[in-house]
Each structure stands twice: as C-alpha cells, then as structure tokens.
Amino acid sequence: GAGVSQSPSNKVTEKGKDVELRCDPISGHTALYWYRQSLGQGLEFLIYFQGNSAPDKSGLPSDRFSAERTGGSVSTLTIQRTQQEDSAVYLCASSPLIGFGYEQYFGPGTRLTVT
C-alpha cells in the first residue's frame, strides 16, 4: 500500500519568507509526527498529533513554527519568517496507535534550504 508522502521534496526559500510543508500519512494511522534532521545529526522531535487530542507541541523550537492536521489525516507544517538555521530535512511519520511498538513509518522528507 501507499506509504507516507511528503511535498515538496525540496524547497529553497529566501530568509524571511514563509514556507508550508505537507505530509500525507498512511491511511488509518491515527498518530502523526514531525521531526527535523540537520545534516549529519539525529532526528529532533517537533510536534505530535493523535486523533482529536490536543497536539504535543513541546518540540517546536520557536513560535515561528506551527502545524495543523485536518480531518485526522493530512498535516501541514508552517515555518514563518524563515531563518538560515531552519535549513534541514523535515520528516513526517505516522503510526497506528495500538498496543506496544515503536514502528513509525517515515516519509522521504522535505529538504528545506533557506538562503
């Protein structure tokens, strides 16, 4: 079946501009995660959605970052007034929320470059 998809795959933007990154999770997965990965680094958690519960925004680095998840499916991560330090790969993952397990299904990521 279809995996997690993200768009765009690459985004180059000028400092100060706003960007929107999109994630389409696997159908039926109630949990959705956004991460950021800088070059040569591990993943940094940003935000988590689970069903209709309030999202866990504890990982967002500043108030320039926000995310929405509409209808329990597609999610959009928005970065306002982008800065050069925002340059990274933004990864989305989804998982079913049943039982135990850490199996998250990741998308290919969006590579954001802020010039």
């Binding site: 997690v4 949990a31 995660y33 991460y35 040569g40 680094q41 591990g42 993943l43 940094e44 958690f45 988590y48 689970q50 866990d56 990982g59 990864l91 989305c92 993952a93 998982s95 079913p96 929320l97 049943i98 039982g99 135990f100 397990g101 850490y102 199996e103 998250q104 299904y105 990741f106 998308g107 290919p108 990521g109 590579r111």
Partner: protein, 113 residues
C-alpha cells in the same frame, strides 16, 4: 529516557556478518529497544524491536543480555545495499510515546566490495 551509546562508524565487507552494539545502562523496566535504518535522502525505516533475549526477523537479529544494559544488532551477510546509518533507541513501549525517543547520531555502516 535511557541514553544510548553506539559507535559512530563501522566498516565491513560484503558477505560478512556485522554486529553493532548499543549500550543503555539506564534502561528502565518498561523500556523496549528499537533499531532503525536510514539511507541517504530517505526517512528512517524500522528494523527490529525487542525487550529481552533474542528477536529475529527476515532482516536482522537483536540480542539482549539478561541485564538489558546493552543490545547487539546483527546483520547477516551484509551487502553494499546495507550501507546506511543505524539508530538504537530505548524507551517506553507504550504506543504514542515514540515522540519521546532520543535520536542520537547513530552508527554509520559502510559496506565495501
């Protein structure tokens, strides 16, 4: 959350067995051990997960000693396509707590011809 330590890099040759050891001295009773694989320009991919003793699937084996303070990911007969970064993660196995996992730098495995 248990901190993990794993080698930054490893080298191997095609056809060899590769063992990557991860230490997690502060692992808690409820913690599971999970390994992910990441290829360049891709998101991580789940490989294997275990709690104790040995777990085997079609891709790898995971060995966990009785004290659970370390674990070893074993990749049998690696090929060039196994060149990737491997992450060891330790944390509460309850679904949804994935977001609390700490992703370190992982182990960069290079498989040579």
């Amino acid at each position: 959350l248990a901190k993990t330590t794993q080698p930054i890099s490893m080298d191997s040759y095609e056809g060899q067995e590769v063992n990557i050891t991860c230490s997690h001295n502060n692992i808690a009773t409820n913690d599971y051990i999970t390994w992910y694989q990441q290829f360049p320009s891709q998101g991580p991919r789940f490989i294997i997960q275990g709690y104790k003793t040995k777990v085997t699937n079609e891709v790898a084996s995971l060995f966990i000693p009785a004290d659970r303070k370390s674990s070893t990911l074993s990749l049998p007969r690696v090929s060039l396509s196994d060149t990737a970064v491997y992450y060891c993660l330790v944390g509460d196995g309850r679904a949804g707590n994935n977001r609390k996992l700490i992703w370190g730098l992982g182990t960069s495995l290079a498989v040579n011809p």
